[in-house]
């Protein structure tokens, strides 16, 4: 038995490309599926959420201005780097969600594949969702999808990795930047995902991961004037309607929570990308 001291990890937030502790100084204990202590995670406060929105807004111009092709490459790179951490993700998912080793591996595989799937979509969205419109006049009218802006995402509470990737990747693929409140009980895979994002060419601020309580931070994000859309997937069911009401104050796009947390392994389709895309239509005069 070695008498080497254990090097324990501090689980922090991922905010503006850096890994700060919560501004509030708070932490909370995270347990595995059987209730045994796993780690202390940072417990994000409303001020962390405010800082995250500032970071996301700052990063929006560069990320939305990047070519769709480049965004696809970056998202594919996330999958590559995640693959290198496969074992770590398996361990965290198995502990947090109480899955067998084999089942956890399948979940991580699916999460990596989901990045690849959305990476492929970035430069196809305009062709699939955009159109050349038939117009009754001497104009050429065409429509293209544009990112909505800063999207606040309340990530699923149960599926801590596959669910998280399934709600985050579609937001990024469209060119939005994201402020994500992770699963409260199972935040550890999200912290590791933050480390993956930090090392895979995703510009700082494009993704901000706050570990903590969606019920506490959600209202501040829903009400925030500088957030353009909210995804309420992981909101406490009793609070969802109130969050939607708060979001109406600044006319946000709202993606309502499903009645039941869905099976994330199913084919996602376009349903999670289109709510965070705006259609821009241009009328161009036709020369003779």
């Amino acid at each position: 038995m070695s008498d080497r001291l254990a090097v324990r990890k501090t689980f922090k937030l991922y905010l503006g490309g850096a890994f700060p502790r919560s501004e509030s100084g708070r932490t909370y204990a995270v347990t595995d599926a059987r209730g045994a202590f796993l780690a202390n995670a940072a417990w994000a406060s409303r001020k962390d959420a405010r800082d995250a929105v500032v970071a996301a807004r700052g990063a929006f111009a560069k990320w939305s201005g990047a070519t769709a092709y480049n965004r696809g490459q970056v998202l594919y790179r996330v999958a590559e780097v995640m693959e290198g951490r496969h074992a770590q993700f398996c361990e965290e998912v198995a502990a947090g969600e109480g899955l067998s080793a084999g089942r956890a591996r399948a979940v991580v595989d699916a999460a990596v594949d989901r990045w690849v799937w959305y990476a492929g979509w970035t430069d196809k969205l305009a062709s699939v969702l955009g159109s050349a419109n038939p117009v009754a006049g001497p104009f050429f009218g065409f429509s293209t999808p544009e990112p909505t802006g800063v999207v606040a995402v309340l990530a699923p509470q149960r599926s801590s990795l596959l669910g998280l990737v399934s709600v985050l990747a579609p937001v990024l693929a469209g060119g939005n930047t994201a402020v994500v409140v992770t699963s409260r009980e199972r935040p550890l895979p999200a912290v590791t995902l933050g480390e993956v994002l930090a090392t895979s060419d995703v510009p700082g601020g494009v993704v901000n991961l706050l570990t903590g309580d969606a019920g506490e931070i959600g209202p501040w994000l829903a009400e925030h004037d500088d957030v353009d859309a909210v995804d309420l997937t992981g909101a406490p069911p009793a609070q969802a309607m109130e969050l939607e009401r708060l979001a109406a104050g600044s006319i946000k796009r709202v993606l309502r929570p499903p009645a039941e947390e869905p099976d994330w392994s199913a084919d996602p389709g376009l349903s999670r990308m289109t709510p965070f895309l705006e259609t821009k239509t241009v009328w161009h005069p036709k020369g003779v």
Partner: protein, 331 residues
């Protein structure tokens, strides 16, 4: 570090007089006397000053105190635009913002002044007529101060003639660092005279003076020469206004009042971008020199982007939710 200078030790044999300069006529009589005086000022404890400023920066200001601090800070802002690309139109829009910083909320106070280059002072004066918002103009070959004295004085007269009632001059840092203190002193005196009735703010450009000792000496030199305000920086050099350097200058104006009875203002400028920074400065003022300085006549914040952050925080306090940059005017 927080030692108050005893007037008796400052100018041996002289009593504090009622007006500027009278207690210190001796020390400005020759270059040697001025050097002896400035180098005789107690040295600044660098570690102590930085620690004191950092400690005061941790004060938590919340709710009603924060609301008061935000409104006070807004009323102290010198809304500044000092770009080569400035136009009369930009100055006019800045003036409109100065009189009514938040168009959605008439209870937001007006700022203290608009700070522009001298040639645009006339535009600012016209746009601000009858509002009580001052027009400050930078002069004396701002920001470098590298011009002959005639040119600098002409620059000042021109700005005053255009309608500026506050002049922000830069000192000749080259001369100061070379130890030609009397030359700097005489220049400030000459500029003060050229200002006529306009208030004179003397920019020390502490980022180029390097040490806190130099900041203290330059503050004293400027005050002896008749400055109405001492100002940290041009905003063109980094580091600009830092909390410790502001602390050193506040101590200098406090000691100067104790010695002469004349109250000189302080203006940190450059690098103050957030409400938190502004509130830290207000705490520093209150704890160092007291409430006498907590007014736009004695303390200013030179800034451009700060005002929008103050307004965002003000909106947050008013509405209860976070605001965004789309809800304040773009400069």
């Amino acid at each position: 570090m927080t030692h108050v200078l005893d007037p008796g030790t400052l100018a041996a044999g002289t009593r504090p007089g009622p007006g500027p300069g009278t207690a210190f006529d001796d020390v400005t009589r020759s270059d040697a006397a001025l050097r002896a005086f400035l180098h005789g000022l107690p040295g600044v404890d660098q570690v102590g000053a930085e620690q004191r400023a950092a400690t005061l920066g941790t004060r938590s200001i919340k709710t009603t105190a924060k609301a008061w601090a935000i409104d006070t800070a807004i009323s102290m802002v010198d809304l500044t635009t000092l770009e080569g690309a400035d136009t009369p139109g930009k100055v006019r829009s800045l003036a409109a913002k100065a009189r009514r910083p938040d168009p959605t909320d008439p209870t937001a106070p007006a700022v203290a002044a608009v700070c522009v280059y001298g040639d645009l002072a006339g535009v600012a004066r016209e746009a601000l007529a009858g509002t009580g918002v001052h027009v400050a103009a930078v002069a004396t070959a701002f920001p470098s101060g590298r011009a002959s004295r005639e040119v600098k004085l002409a620059d000042v007269r021109d700005a005053v003639g255009n309608g500026a009632d506050e002049i922000d001059m830069v000192i000749d840092r080259g001369a100061f660092l070379a130890g030609r203190y009397l030359e700097v002193f005489e220049e400030v005196v000459a500029v003060k005279e050229a200002c006529g009735g306009a208030h004179l703010k003397v920019i020390l450009e502490t980022g180029e003076l390097v040490t806190y000792d130099n900041a203290r000496r330059a503050s004293w030199l400027a005050m002896l020469a008749g400055a109405d305000f001492v100002k940290t920086s041009t905003g063109k050099i980094s580091p600009a206004a830092t909390l410790p350097v502001c602390l050193v200058m506040l101590e200098a104006v406090r000691d100067f009042r104790a010695a002469t009875g004349r109250q000189v203002g302080v203006k940190p400028a450059g690098g103050i971008r957030t409400t938190k920074d502004a509130i830290k400065h207000l705490v520093l003022v209150n704890e160092t020199v007291g409430a006498d300085w907590l007014s736009p006549d004695r303390f200013r914040l030179g800034a451009s982007s700060l005002l929008n952050d103050l307004l965002l925080q003000r909106q947050k306090l008013r509405t209860g939710h976070y605001s965004g940059p789309d809800h304040v005017s773009v400069d």
